[in-house]
Amino acid sequence: MNSKEKILLKIRENRPNPWPLPDIPVFESATPDKRQLFIKILERGGSKVCTVKDISEVNQVVSTCFPNGKRTVTTLPFLEGMEHTTSIQPDFYEGTELAIIGAVLGVAENGALWLTENELNQVRVLPFITQHLVLVISEKLIVGTMHEAYKWLGTPTAGFGVFIAGPSKTADIEQSLVIGAQGARSLLVIITP
């Protein structure tokens, strides 16, 4: 008998009586203004948030917030004059100062933004390896709770997906919060119409 058979057999001998799987209601957020809550929670978690009136303003916001002109990589086709993801070799992106990526969903109750490898042009490492991260999200794509989020996401088609809720952080030394552990040192969220 191999280990799989051994484990399954033992489970069948030892498992408890059947117990029903509950239907989980889609709890919705009570807040009337999801955008406002989204911003509040993001800022509380150490992120910066900027709202623009038109998608064409994204470039302007980025150059104001990050004026130093170091290596900037983007996955957004409408951003011109920047390095776009050409290679899928992860090491190629070490030294990226700033990555600008589109997110597909925002969650108001915890400030999390969802994106998959489709938005990353298969460069899964990009939002982690970059020194600073900018995520662009449409106001229309902000939902209230994680229940609404998973309902919206449905069955996955991408091989990798992640919720990002702020800059990389740690409190492993005496519970002192330090922003910028192994991943991005800052997160700027730009909300478009």
């Binding site: 191999n2 509950p22 899964r124 996955p156 990389s168 952080k169 552990a181």
Partner: protein
């Protein structure tokens, strides 16, 4: 082997440090309370989480097979390990297949349980723990003292000293920001040179074959996405049936653990990356035994948030290392006696049975009830922690005879009046070790009552 009580006594000798440890953890507990207060349906979520886990355990065989099938369809390789040895051998065989000599690892209590690091080191593999807290204790050659905050027992001065020695930081530097920055540079180099990355798993989803990993530092993702081969080690109890169940668990986990509304990164790994390999190791290592114990199988619902540790008055004032178990604190004290009753039989006694652990548990494990039930088993097995049976027998006999008990009380009170502090003679029972008896009254209630009756007549 030293019991928890003995190790805790040593920990308590440094009173200032004990107070500091207590306060650090209580702060985390308070953050949890605030985060919980933001969710009106919190108690419903706990109930749902408990039901989902109980249901999954009742059909674990079916869900494991469904998970395996989906994961294989996704292009992952699924391995099954009956015990720690088999798990470690599987990891080594994957490393050997790729001629890998260096592996980065993100936090995984399961690999601590399997003692993977020691095994790989003995096989000439360099393992780098990439979570900051884990890296600190790895460099110190210590086990984690908490499942979420592995280095919570250390002071920044000690970490500064360690980093000066190991990472060439400035001598005497203790600023957490500076020390974290040093570790960031040190670990970046490791992420780029390792050939394999290993992570633990927070949730495995049966319907999609995905593994979900929650971190704040981003270290798990740095490893997984930078190395060609990634391995996910997962205890079989980590399964949940549906992807939408993650809504319940992601809302509960970080709020319970650190008081954050969600972990910074919640990564869903479904397929290997382009030209990469993805391995999932399903590990039993005693879990199916625990499943067969009706009183204790509920402990398998645990999602490893650590809330029971942060709230426990014993854990906070004795430190994680006093438990001498991979998982310390209340949850560890009900998980480990099932593995080795003789070694861990003392742990269910490291509790006041106040029930705070049960109150904060996001999956409603009846921790304090299970602690009590383990005590019965330990006592029946005749282990010393079960209490002094002879003494209890004498006491029981004495208390069953009212006349004798009355005389014993009178004698005791007289002795205490004549020789204050003489209760210390009973310190062999440990009851009077850290507490004094109150001043003996002139007469007992019984004597006083008898007088009242006489007066009324």
């Amino acid at each position: 082997m030293m019991s928890h009580a003995k190790k805790a006594a040593i920990f308590n000798k440094d009173e200032a440090r004990t107070d500091w440890h207590d306060a650090s953890l209580w702060m985390v507990r308070q953050k949890r309370d605030f985060a919980v207060s933001e969710i009106p349906e919190w108690e419903f979520l706990r109930e749902y989480a408990s039901d989902i886990k109980t249901h999954t355990l009742s059909s674990l065989d079916t869900y494991l097979e469904a998970f395996e099938k989906a994961a294989i369809q996704n292009g992952a390789t699924v391995h099954w390990a009956s015990d720690a040895t088999e798990h470690n051998e599987i990891v080594l065989s994957i490393l050997k297949k790729h001629q890998a000599k260096k592996m980065v690892k993100s936090k995984s209590m399961l690999t601590e349980e399997c003692q993977l690091n020691d095994f790989l080191a003995a096989n000439d593999i360099e393992v780098i723990d990439s979570d900051l807290g884990e890296r600190i204790i790895q460099l110190l050659d210590e086990p984690p003292s908490h499942i979420v905050l592995p280095a919570i027992h250390l002071k920044k001065e000690e970490i500064g000293e360690l980093f000066h020695r190991e990472l060439q930081t400035e001598k005497g530097a203790t600023d957490p920001q500076y020390l974290t920055e040093a570790a960031r540079h040190h670990l970046r180099e490791k992420f780029h040179t390792a050939q394999v990355a290993l992570t633990g798993v927070n949730f495995g989803i049966a319907e999609t074959g995905e593994v979900v990993v929650c971190t704040n530092e981003g270290n798990a993702d740095m490893g997984v996405h930078l190395t060609p081969v990634h391995i996910h080690s997962m205890g079989i109890e980590k399964l949940i049936p549906r992807r939408s169940d993650l809504a319940v668990f992601t809302r509960l986990l970080a709020r319970s653990a650190t008081g954050q509304p969600v972990t910074v990164f919640t990564s869903h790994h479904r397929t290997p990356k382009n030209e990469g390999e993805m391995h999932i190791i399903l590990v039993d290592n005693g879990r199916t035994n625990q499943l067969g114990k009706p009183d204790f199988r509920g402990s398998l619902k645990c999602i490893r948030c650590g809330a029971c540790m942060n709230t426990c008055p014993i854990y906070r004032r004795s430190g994680g290392h006093s438990y001498d178990a991979t998982i310390p604190g209340p949850i560890g004290s009900i998980l480990t006696p099932g593995i080795d009753l003789k070694k861990y039989g003392n742990l269910p006694f490291a509790s006041t049975l106040c029930g705070s652990c049960t109150d904060v548990c996001p999956v409603k494990i009846d921790i304090h009830t299970q602690l009590y039930k383990w005590r019965q088993i330990v006592s029946e097995a005749g282990l010393p922690e079960g209490g002094n049976k002879t003494l209890m027998g004498i006491l029981g006999n004495g208390m069953a005879k009212p006349g004798f008990f009355h005389r014993l009380g009178n004698t005791g009170r007289k002795l205490l009046r004549l020789f204050p502090g003489s209760e210390k003679l009973l310190s062999f029972t440990i009851w009077t070790k850290d507490r004094n008896l109150p001043k003996a009254p002139k007469e007992s209630f019984r004597d006083w009552y008898a007088k009242q009756e006489k007066n009324e007549q």
